[in-house]
Symmetry: C2
Subunit: 391 residues, 2 copies
Amino acid sequence: MRDFSFTQLHKDKKTQARTGVIHTPHGDIRTPAFVPCGTQATVKSLTPDELDTIGVQLFFVNTYHMYLRPGIGVVKKAGGLHKFMNWNGPIMTDSGGFQIFSLAKKASLVKISDEGVEFQSHWDGTKHLFTPESSMRWQSALGGDMHIAFDDCTPYGVSHEKARLSMERTHRWAQRSLAEHKKLHKKNIVLKTPYQALYGSIQGSVFKDLRQESAKFISGMDFDGIAIGGVSVGESKKQMVDVLDWVTPVLPDDKPRHLLGVGEIDDIFTLVEHGIDTFDCVQPTRLARMGTVLVGNNPINQLANTPIKKHELDITNTRYAKDFGPIEKDCSCYTCTHFTRAYLHHLFHVKELLGYRLATIHNLHFIHRLVDDIRESIQDHSFLELKRSWI
Amino acid sequence: MRDFSFTQLHKDKKTQARTGVIHTPHGDIRTPAFVPCGTQATVKSLTPDELDTIGVQLFFVNTYHMYLRPGIGVVKKAGGLHKFMNWNGPIMTDSGGFQIFSLAKKASLVKISDEGVEFQSHWDGTKHLFTPESSMRWQSALGGDMHIAFDDCTPYGVSHEKARLSMERTHRWAQRSLAEHKKLHKKNIVLKTPYQALYGSIQGSVFKDLRQESAKFISGMDFDGIAIGGVSVGESKKQMVDVLDWVTPVLPDDKPRHLLGVGEIDDIFTLVEHGIDTFDCVQPTRLARMGTVLVGNNPINQLANTPIKKHELDITNTRYAKDFGPIEKDCSCYTCTHFTRAYLHHLFHVKELLGYRLATIHNLHFIHRLVDDIRESIQDHSFLELKRSWI
């Protein structure tokens, strides 16, 4: 039996937006769900308890990073990622492919062949090879609940011909990933390892025919879920909408859909509107560490004459040095109920570790409350009204 | 009425060690007590709630740092340090003198006169003047519970003649500090500000006659407590013992005694043995951020063939990469009850913020449990046995 399934609960009348529940061996995920990034086996600066308090349901860990440090063997010996990080909720891992292209030491030293991808470590320049089979084995050893098939992440700006070749390789690798995954699954049954789900990954760059062909191909395979890759590398938000417009009508209703690497506030509405169930993004946590905190359409911020750009407030700005209100007046997060903008401004001004942490708590809390509201709006058929009030 | 007092509870039969309670407007402090450093209005990486859980009773904030960033005015406008940091327990501030000498941009640009000390900011090179009167005003505005008189921190290695001149200046500044403090106290009564205690500071370098003269002089004044300064700048631990041997027999029994800037494990036993009640030190928190965690005389560490130097374990050492036990087997801190040495090793290896935090929690917990044990041993008249088991 697969201890993994997706139940659709509500569907918006006017858009593809939907709510649902993804059942995993480590608990249920109410969708739509934001997936924070715990790149190096930690959501930067926070403990699992804090994530739980914020309402984080699952988070992402990057296989590429785990492979290089601490090494897959260490995590396996620890009893898997859940035990290594002491996080008992669901975990999603990626194939490693995207990181190889974006982080490997020199792009020119990444060698792609049908076998797989050879690259140099961004830490020490040592050479490594990832194949669909090894990516599956490593994800299995890491023990996350949802894995992603190894794909050829098509760079932005290539010709239709090159995009086709890349997509076709992704499809061959999807087949090899699935075959290896099924082998591993048989072993896992014997070992009584909790079920690990596999998402197939759609590529096809910014070409309609390729994206649709890829969506059909991946949807036709025996994957537990569907991931859409190569969107965050696109040039514009318009291109992301195009890809979603082409791809999502093709996707089966009964499988959960994940979009890789996108999650700004306006994006979240776009993704949900197109029936995407989960999406990971480093943006809220990365912004936090730069001192940029998220704020709603809150009159308090306007009263304070705060120029709010994309719902972002730069706490390092001198105007907050003597601002003794919270980041957001009605926010119930730990940061807003305990500390002022002035204190956060000070912590960032003198580069204190606590600042990064308090801003991260607020930003994750903010995004999770937003996604809570979005789920509720789909249930109430008021999703588009909510979207209009934000965008 | 002074809302500040010291009650001695137990006295060791064989040494000067004693237990007691310092009553402050923000709560009682059981002594001996370790005082962590919250230099820039934050005990690096931790929230006040975490400090409370660890058992931190009070912490130190540096007036020099507050003066430069965020500025005394900001903290005053926030309603004082307690509100600014959201810490409701006792707070100790220093005079600023020590930091001027150790942090000001160039030692050659620190100008000492009888009026006070002129220096350049370590942040931006701007010029500033601290006097006994301004130090008192700034500490009063910061609103800590215990202040320290402005002193001339004698550099190490000076002649007896120079040390005498410096000590005499410290004594003149002690008189001016106390006079200004009493003026401010009258205003505070009108404003119904909680009582702020003032500790006089003993100097005299490494000279017996000067230290004893200074101890008598400061003890004879109307201070609420006695601080011993200029010890951490000495060359050896032997010199610290000498200073304590000379000074402590002179001190009145009924005033609390603070030693500035010392607090390694062996030091703590030395200080307590000489009847010191409180002591601040950056060591446990600074070590933590370097990946050095404190460990007891625990057979587990010996079993793991861990070379323990001064009760310090370097978690960044490769030997801990696959060590899936906690830092200390019987430690009840958050870090040890939730995470392994291997996970901490990984966090430090990839420079993750959570690592600094988890190590800081452990080290502060460790020191606080040690000081708890010391208090209990004084009560049980087993202090020297406890000391022998550690040193």
